[in-house]
């Protein structure tokens, strides 16, 4: 894909823009917003894989878990960290395959 207009509308560019603006945001924001942006970016990346037909049900499950629990960061630090551990465990299952 070499067409700039097309690139600017793509999900990949949206993710790129998200990463750069998150980097700037993280300088001033609460510490736990860093991990929030990272898992949110992970979910966006999984969405891209899904659209390309490259995702498997295991990967989609990771996205669903992120979307279900990422907002806990705003309500309970413990719950958010427990969610990150749960996500890591799910990832471990995949890595062990």
């Amino acid at each position: 894909m070499k067409n700039l207009e097309e690139l600017l509308k793509s999900d990949e560019f949206k993710l790129l823009s998200f990463l750069i603006t998150s980097a700037r945001g993280c300088v001033d924001e609460p510490q736990l917003y860093g991990p929030l942006r990272l898992v949110d970016a992970a979910a966006k990346l999984i969405q891209i894989l899904e659209k390309k037909g490259m995702a498997t049900p295991e990967i989609t499950k990771l996205r669903e878990l992120i979307e279900e629990k990422e907002y806990t960061v705003m309500y309970s630090e413990e719950e958010f960290i427990a969610f990150l551990d749960e996500l890591s465990k799910e990832l471990a299952k995949l890595l062990k395959k």
Binding site: F13, K14, S17, F18, T21, S22, R24, G25, E29, Y33, R37, D40, Y71, M74, Y75
Partner: protein, 173 residues
């Protein structure tokens, strides 16, 4: 709807349906905003209303804390020139004014079945460029608006923050 029901029912909404907000309702929301109180009656606020889908999409790209696909954004800004008339406290005062205006807007929206969410996590530099906001105007808070597919569960409120007569004395046993 009772006022108490509106105050307690409003939630930060991060998922929206694909549905436009009628212009009449948008007007009511903005009108509620500018009827908020303001320090020294300076009204140092400016509100940029964005309903264009393409622009919303661009702003989303520059706002990591903006979730879902809202139908409308309102960007609350401080007019620094006007705020100067408030002296040294002019700027913090204007921040309070914008916050009060937005609360009015969010409550009016809720009474119309419209959800909202304040968003502080956005890139100021990019937003100013995109919306051609002049140098003397500072965007400080975005609020998203749209129709929620469901109302999120309310987070617990800290009751211990209310003190009776003296700090540290519980308001309610």
């Amino acid at each position: 709807m009772e006022l108490e029901e509106i105050i307690k029912g409003r939630r930060a909404v991060r998922k929206y349906e694909e549905k436009e907000i009628p212009f009449e309702h948008a007007k009511k929301i903005l009108e509620a905003g500018i009827w908020a109180p303001s320090g020294s009656n300076l009204q140092s606020w400016e509100f940029v209303v964005v309903r264009d889908k393409e622009m919303i999409e661009k702003i989303k790209m520059a706002s990591p804390g903006l979730f879902g696909n809202p139908a409308m954004l309102v960007i609350g800004c401080i007019n620094k020139e006007r705020a100067k008339r408030g002296g040294k406290i002019g700027y913090p005062m204007a921040m309070m004014d914008v916050a009060m205006a937005f609360q009015n807007m969010m409550l009016m929206a809720y009474s119309l079945g419209i959800g909202s969410c304040p968003v502080l996590s956005f890139n100021k530099v990019i937003l100013k460029e995109l919306l051609e906001i002049p140098e003397e105007v500072d965007p400080i808070l975005i609020v998203t608006f749209g129709y929620p597919p469901f109302w999120p569960k309310p987070p617990r409120r800290r009751k211990e923050v209310i003190h009776l007569e003296k700090f540290g004395r519980a308001f309610e046993e």
